[in-house]
Amino acid sequence: MQEAVLKTVNLTKKYGKSTVLDSVNLTVRKGDIYGIIGKNGAGKTTIMKSILGLANKTSGEIELFGKSENESGALRHRIGSLIEEPVFYRTMTVYDNLKYYCYLKGISDLSVIDRMLRELGIEDAKNKKYRKCSLGMKQRLGIALSLLDSPDLVILDEPINGLDPIGISDMRSLFKRYNEDKEVTFVISSHILSELYTVSNRFLFIDKGKVIKEITKEELDFNCRLGTAFGVSDTAAAAPVIENAGIKDYRIVSRNDLYVYDEKPDITGIVKNLIDAGLSIYGIEKTGMTLEEYFKDMVEEDSHD
């Protein structure tokens, strides 16, 4: 198990009387792409702000790279971030803006600026004044800034806002590449579930400031994938029966479990064939739902408690 890069324990934040975050517990491990999913106003941004010191938490602990808050100040340079909308000096060019931050962070090799611009696909806007840039360019610049100082942890608040579909796909590959090759840990928030689904390996579902669930992708897949699960006495014998019934997309999971992923399987037919072949059936279950349904389900379940 990888060690925890970020951990919050009972993180709570109140603005006067209203509680925006209520005892949030989460753990992000090294190499994760951790997706935080919630409706607008659920508290995603507040969590991120609290971690970065942009908002003062009311109570609870935050551990960064295994160190408590007093010690972690010096480790901030290992974190890159983009919270809410990107902000830069409006009268300076894109290049100069990044140059400013290079000076600020103590990066003496300025070639990294060109490299970053190229990676994010905005090298054409190099000499454009920031205020003249489109929303997509500004967003990319914000992400470039978060990656500028070779971070180990990158916290992004709705990074694909304002990007066109190709941009979104480019960003997805970028995150994957950084995560897989450079072992950069990502914490990304979004309300677009499908996008987060494709990149993340762990998820945090949050609603009204409370954590509903912290779950891995495998568990999510297990819960969401559409299919029919058959419990049989002997999958080895069941396999030819299934194939004879014309099913191609199936998977033998264990000695007794078989998943059929066809969208509309002829369950009656399958069952009949299995029984005819002398097998016993222990159970049949419909598995799967879309991500949105799953999320809605969880949120409603929680509000019923």
């Binding site: 103590g106 072992e183 396999a239 997309d249």
Partner: protein, 300 residues
């Protein structure tokens, strides 16, 4: 009077030198701390600017650190690839094995008529052959990757090797009413290569076109400066061209098509072993594989 001036100037200079020295020591201490942190936590960070006197040193060390990070990244990529290969491998083995077992059990138990039994046995045989193929490809790939020996090279006529390879698949293609066409542009292509390996490359590529394509296969050989062999056909599948040559990528699940997915990877490794290059282009429904080699001009 003048002594006072000299003394004060000297004192001033010594103070300045002392301050510069202390600054430098401070810078070096900070750098040492940053460096141990980077090493200890396996961090991606680079050293940060501390002062003018250590700037050059910082840049040099950062270059080394970047190299180190790259090597680590490449290693991780390979490692991941390998692990993925192993996982896919076990999945791909289990399903056909289990189903073969199932079939055999079925045969043993049932009172099927003889010809039906024969049919089922054929299916089992096909399944097991596929398995054998899979295992063989795997061994083959690992042999190439791990061996350091250079293959034996001779002067070859590209055309003859290609023609023989085409002959291997000609019947399969015609059974599906598909044709293979061969065209030669430029002078006769002669290159320094290894016949078996080259044959294998062509076999893999043509076999791949057979399994995943659904149209005629057009092969063009160009010889103008360098030698290139272009294999073009149409396909209904949507290949992920970025990953075609990654170990164990398949456009379709290996269960249904009976393809280990290693064919292309092996083709790539072999091509590079022979000093050539392979690339793929995909547009609309047409996919083209392009091999390029250096030509050996006759008489060199």
């Amino acid at each position: 009077m003048i002594e006072y001036i000299i003394i004060s100037v000297l004192t001033l200079i010594s103070i300045v030198v002392l301050i510069l020295y202390l600054f430098q020591r401070y810078e070096i201490r900070k750098l040492k701390r940053e460096l141990s942190e980077i090493r200890g936590e396996a961090s991606n960070s680079l050293l940060h600017f501390q002062g003018k006197s250590t700037e050059q040193l910082v840049n040099e060390i950062n270059l080394m650190l970047s190299e180190l990070h790259e090597i680590r990244a490449a290693y991780r990529k390979r490692d991941r690839s390998f692990k993925r290969m192993l996982t896919n491998f076990s999945h791909d083995l289990r399903t056909p094995l289990t189903s073969s077992l199932g079939y055999i059990q079925l045969l043993q138990k049932s009172n099927m008529p003889e010809d039906e039994k024969e049919r089922e046995l054929e299916i089992v045989e096909k399944r097991l052959c596929r398995l054998e193929e899979l295992i063989n490809s795997c061994f083959e790939l690992s042999k190439i990757v791990s061996s350091d020996k250079m293959p034996e090279l001779n002067d070859l006529s590209l055309a003859s090797v290609l023609e023989e390879s085409v002959a291997h698949y000609y019947d399969d293609f015609s059974d599906k009413s598909r044709k293979i066409s061969l065209a030669f542009e430029g002078s006769k292509a002669v290159l320094l290569s290894n016949r078996d390996i080259l044959m294998r490359i062509f076999d893999n590529l043509i076999g791949n076109a057979y399994k995943h394509g659904n149209s005629d296969l057009n092969i063009t050989v160009k010889n103008n400066g360098g030698i290139s062999v272009i294999l073009e056909n149409e396909t209904d599948e949507k290949p992920d061209v970025q990953h075609l040559f990654d170990e164990f990528y398949t456009a379709d699940s290996s269960r249904s098509k009976g393809n280990s997915g290693l064919g292309l990877v092996i083709a790539k490794e072999f091509t590079e072993l022979l000093g050539g290059n392979i690339s793929v282009q995909y547009e609309g429904r047409k996919i083209a594989f392009i091999l390029s080699f250096e030509s050996k001009l006759p008489g060199c």
